[in-house]
């Protein structure tokens, strides 16, 4: 990422002067500065500030960045409680709750903890988040942040325009990954809606504040957006942070990664009344979208699509050691399938050799045998299955990583339906999805089964 971006406070004149010093050329007549700021009010274009501010690293706050959707009434729900805006921010160093701590305020009734599970609803412990769903569906339609379309959705449980504010104090990055995954799934299934890009940036910002740097680095590898668009463009358009703000680089990175992974959303429409009235602005909008899309395309070409994973209900694990918790996780996954009997053993031929083995479970979806495997990890950065972890480079770790791939290969031969891998770790699912594909294995699927 370009580190030469000027501080926010640098004036256009000073930048022009610095450019002259560097290049000996004068900048063309100053054009209106165009910057991205996720905290702007699309209705009037004014910049606003993120709720929680830069000190709220422990307290990821989704939406209501403009404070527009304050509750009309205090919910009397004990599981989801209203929190006034001034209490959202945790002082730096103050630890977040060890349990999921979710508070929501909304423009209307807050979903009750006793309510029946609804479509497109994530519920983990006392965390309840409604995600955008197709307005034609009968399910819940609560937006994580403001909608700009002004539509009145009849299926909105709070009535009106379905605006919802949810703040989350997650206990680990996997909880944020689950939300991000579900949000991306909603975009995949129903298409982009107004504020989705900003929401994705918000969620990733929360994620990256909780992830370890080495894990984040694995999402980038050798990708360098400055090879696609000039670093200067990135500095001025794609990122917009104050170096004095410790959260700035993380937010800028979250924005770049959202462009890279999910893209900029649909291109601006050309044949609208506004575009026809101001064709110059329309052209600028198009050019900006093209540049952002170039970032997306370059990432997709080099790193590939970031998978969206199916997920199940969460399961409870117990045990004093990681191995015991892993065994407990395996039992719980098997119970999801309603089975606790010993799965079939198999014998297969691989490279001319007879090999025997046994999966954690075998399911028969519509007469097709499918191996079920449970892969639990306490911490992706602490597991020997991760080559980027501290112990991942040890010889025995490399052996385990290779064993994972060989196991998938065997399952793909032994079982007609291949294998379903349940894991609580998005990073494990992401890493081995790629590793299996690179090894030429196609009959597999990763499913997230979170732990309670």
């Amino acid at each position: 990422m370009a580190r030469s971006s000027p501080p926010e406070s640098t004036s256009a004149e000073r930048r022009a002067f610095e450019h002259y010093l560097r290049t000996g050329r004068r900048l063309p007549s100053p054009a209106p500065e165009r910057k991205f700021n996720p905290y702007h009010d699309p209705r009037n274009g004014r910049f606003t500030f993120a709720p929680g501010g830069p000190q709220s690293l422990q307290n990821a706050v989704f939406s209501d960045r403009r404070g527009l959707w304050k509750p009309k009434e205090q919910p009397n729900d004990t599981a989801i409680t209203a929190r006034p805006p001034e209490t959202r921010e945790l002082a730096q160093g103050e630890s977040a709750s060890s349990q999921s701590d979710v508070r929501a305020s909304s423009s209307g009734a807050v979903p009750s903890a006793e309510a029946e599970p609804a479509l497109a609803k994530i519920q983990t412990d006392d965390l309840t988040i409604y995600l955008p769903v197709d307005p034609r569906d009968d399910g819940a339609l609560l937006r994580i942040s403001a909608t700009d379309d002004g539509a009145q959705y009849p299926n909105c449980p709070v009535g009106g325009d379905c605006r919802e504010t949810v703040s989350v104090s997650p206990k680990n990055s996997d909880e944020i990954q689950l939300i991000l995954n579900r949000y991306r799934m909603s975009i995949r299934d129903y298409g982009w809606k107004d504020n989705d890009l900003s929401n994705l940036v918000d969620i990733r910002y929360a994620l990256y504040t909780l992830m370890e740097r080495e894990a984040i680095a694995a999402h980038i590898e050798d990708w360098d957006p400055t090879r696609v668009v000039p670093g200067e463009w990135i500095a001025e358009n794609a990122i917009d942070f104050d170096r004095d703000d410790p959260a700035g680089p993380t937010r800028a990175f979250a924005y770049l990664m959202t462009l890279a992974i999910d893209g900029p959303g649909p291109p601006p429409e050309l044949f609208t009344l506004d575009a026809l009235m101001d064709p110059q602005q329309a052209a600028l909008d198009q050019a900006e979208w093209q540049a952002k899309n170039a970032i997306h395309q370059s990432y997709q070409a080099m790193i590939g699509p970031d998978p969206i994973f199916d997920y199940t209900v969460s399961v409870a694990v117990s045990g004093a050691s990681a191995k015991e918790r892993g065994d407990s996780y395996e039992v719980q996954v098997r119970r999801l399938y309603g089975g606790d009997e010993r799965p079939p053993s198999f014998t297969l031929l691989l490279d001319g050799k007879v090999i025997t083995g046994q999966a954690d479970h075998v399911a028969w979806p519509e007469d097709t045998s499918t191996a079920i495997e449970a892969k639990y990890t306490d911490s992706w950065m602490g597991t020997l299955r991760n080559p980027l972890s501290v112990i991942g480079i040890m010889p025995w770790s490399e052996k385990e990583q290779q064993r994972m791939i060989e196991q998938a290969r065997r399952y793909s031969i032994a079982y007609d339906g291949g294998a379903i891998y349940h894991t609580n770790s998005f990073e494990l699912a992401r890493f081995y999805s790629k590793a299996f594909k690179d090894a030429g294995i196609s009959k597999f699927k990763f499913v997230i089964t979170p732990i309670e």
Binding site: L348, E366, Y415
Partner: protein, 139 residues
Amino acid sequence: MHDSLKKIFGVDKFDDPALPGTRARDPGKVIYVLLRPGAEMLESFEEVTAKVNPPIPKHGAALHEHFAVKTPDQETFYSIYFHGDVEGWRQQIELGAKQLGLKMAKVHEDKFVVSEGPAYLLLDCAVTLDGKPFPLPGQ
């Protein structure tokens, strides 16, 4: 079975365990092999499937599903399901069992037919799954 799994698999239903040889996927893909008294089923399965070397099948696999059928004559047979190179696996298992001197059997309609031996009504046999009784419909 949790409902969310059906969506993930993209299917309407999961099949419950059923006696090998009676399922839609089974025709031509299931052989029962005699279990010697006192022998371990899994060890016998591995011995039979690996007996012929080099192996005959070119691809695919054989599965031991922990089903066993005990005939009225007190002989126990366990099932082997195979897929992929079906003909190759059939030869591999039949030749292996023959070299080990083990009888084979198959399910045909409502009967359990022992090779070169009697045929029993399935309802007269005791079926187990992983060592536990597995009553057949009508039993």
